[in-house]
């Protein structure tokens, strides 16, 4: 079984998405067991992330893998040590999969050119965050009654699309799943050539609801971008690009990759509302990441070659 990288969702087909979804369901229902037994999985985090790292590590360990973990907080990844050097070193340990998080877009694909192990991108700069989008699809599919139920639904992706690797994975993944997507952001938080996605760009969460959004996918606004030259104030941002209780019509679901800035992207009383899928997203993480690692390491037969 050869290694299979999970670096970007841009050219991933429907069959491949379905495969991950089905494996994740098998995992949740306890049908996969310790299928990573005997495999070595390395986590190389060049940028701090407790949540994603913990989710991957749990997924790998519960499935029986040996886990080697390096992070920028430990001495193993020292400042200035090049990405390529680290990957080459890890490669000598005989790893089957490398899970990599890095502050620069393209780091995962660069890493993949220097190792025969499967590379799983756990977030590269403003580039891609494929497992986040896969777990979002899984959580959303589950709440709607299955992957097939996603087609024809409408989702608005709201907030800082310009700097979001989550958006760059969610946009193609949702599209491939048949979801109609719109973008909601001020021009300062959109790429200049946002037209490249050929998606409607709307001016507020209210407009998104008028457009027929059933899913409000809220993106995290980084603290340093909350006021000043990109956004006038938290208050104005929250008014137009935040979701409040008044938006919670029947059938509307709120998603967020976390961690949420309460009162900015999502009003405090909405975060844990019944319409919020945020807890489901978090719990989908382990199942989806186990599925991804199983496919990456070739531990299960692949449907689509």
């Amino acid at each position: 079984m050869s290694a299979r990288d999970f670096i970007s969702l841009e050219n991933v087909g429907r069959e491949e998405l379905l495969e991950v979804m089905e494996l994740a369901r098998d995992q949740e229902e306890g049908r996969l067991g310790r299928l990573l037994e005997g495999r070595t999985v390395c986590l190389a985090f060049f940028e701090p992330s407790t949540r994603t790292a913990a989710s991957f590590e749990l997924a790998a360990r519960r499935a029986g893998a040996d886990v080697v973990s390096l992070s920028s907080g430990t001495s193993s990844i020292s400042k200035g040590e090049s990405l390529v050097d680290t990957v080459v070193t890890l490669d000598r340990l005989g790893m089957d999969a490398l899970i990599i998080r890095h502050p620069a877009a393209g780091a995962a694909s660069l890493a993949s050119r220097h190792t025969s192990a499967a590379v799983v991108n756990a977030g590269d700069g403003c580039g891609q965050h494929p497992t986040q989008a896969l777990l979002d699809l899984y959580a959303l599919g589950k709440s709607l009654g299955g992957f097939e139920e996603l087609a024809g639904r409408r989702a608005a992706i709201v907030g800082d699309i310009l700097h979001s690797r989550v958006a760059r994975s969610v946009i193609p993944a949702f599209g491939t799943a048949g979801i109609e997507v719109s973008l909601v952001a001020p021009a300062t938080l959109l790429p200049r050539e946002a037209d490249v996605w050929r998606l409607p760009v709307l001016g507020s969460v209210d407009e998104a609801l008028e457009w027929g959004a059933e899913v409000l996918y809220m993106l995290r606004l980084q603290k340093e971008r909350m006021s000043g030259a990109l956004v006038p104030s938290v208050a104005e941002y929250a008014r137009y690009y935040g979701v409040g209780r008044r938006h919670l019509r029947p059938g509307v679901r709120v998603m967020h990759p976390g961690p949420v800035n309460r009162g900015v992207e999502i009003a405090s009383d909405v975060v844990l509302d019944g319409s919020s899928l945020i807890p489901d997203q978090v719990s989908a993480g382990i199942a989806v990441r186990t599925a991804v690692l199983a496919l990456a390491t070739g531990s299960v037969e692949r449907a689509a070659a």
Binding site: L83, V84, A105, G106, L110, G127, R168, E193
Partner: protein, 436 residues
Amino acid sequence: MSTRSGADRELVIRGAHVLDPSSGLDGVMDVRISGGRVAEVGEDLHGVRELDASGLHLFPGFVDVHAHWRTPGREEEEDLESGSAAAAAGGFTGVVMMPNTDPVLDRPALVSGLVRRAERESRVRAYVAAALHAGLAGSELTEMRLLKEAGALCVSDDGPGTQNADVLRSGMLYARSAGLAVLLHCEDRSLAKGVVHDGVAAALAGVPATPASAEDAATATALVLAAETGARVHITHVSTALSAALVGFFKGRAGVTADTTPHHLTLTDDLVRTLEGLYRVNPPLRPEGDRREVIEALRDGTLDFVATDHAPHAAQRKELPLQEAAPGFLGHETAFAALYTELVLGESLPLSRLVEAMSCAPGRWVGGLGSLAVGAPADIALADLEEEWTVERESLSSRSHNSPYLGRRMRGRIVGTIVGGELVHDRMGAKLGVRT
């Protein structure tokens, strides 16, 4: 170059297709070289030493006004020997070295030292651009008149640019009194926060992007100041449609010339999608629309000539994610072949316009180069326009390998380069063997 042997001897190059727009030469002819200069161009010339160049094209040697040979300071990436070998391999017989070295070329002693070293170590004519401001920091003027006496050809702050318009204005005024041209890399740093062009590729890739306005705004400022101060201003590596149009508007209103690079003429920001550090360059690769307009501006002479911005980098500075890599491409060795393949064969740019843009116009800008007129320095590039070749790491003379054309198939290759009558690059010894 002073120690070069044979420069005083006579040589006749026979049977090449001679093309020199500056002298109106275009046809199969012989060229007699004597005392390091062109002595005669005509038919059926003979001499004691003859070089059979039949089947080849013969151009005035190319002149590159924008090169980084990394001397002093980063000789592991390039030095005078390897940089000039790369230049010679690309048909360049004259090169201007930019001042962003370590230390910066901002003092007369550094400039005169480098000029003397270049005389000994460079295979081609090497000129020095000194800094416009101390440390390229854009605040204190350098001693421009002393720098000129020390041998500086022009002044430039290149990459860091001069970010304050009032300071730039003073720099132009003083350079005018010093009799030096000012070579400008136009980039407004307050807009240039990214590493690639802010376009479709950047949107999809999620790499920090810089809008075209970073170049356009700075170009507009520079042109306005050039018109006002009367300085001799040269704008280097123009890469956008609007900047090219602005240059066109100011032609005739200011003493301004401009160049663009082989890579902006032949590559687009599609390459950014690979996210490879190799493709980071400044100004960034632009979309096809800009590329087209820049080609047209070169075709109609709005952009006077081509300069490579030859910028060698060690592998560890390029084998990085795009946003962490050092900006810059190798340029000397691929310039002619890339432009011949993509522009002459691909876009029907007349070959004579390419020669004008690589030899005559930059040669005039440097002064006294780029011509095969009788009495001119015998600086010559010999090209085989039929040869097909692939750019490979191993075949590069530079100490670095950061060519964006690695693996590309090209048509047309420089097979011989002559500086002051002496063969400084001879790729096919047998073919070019001088018969005595």
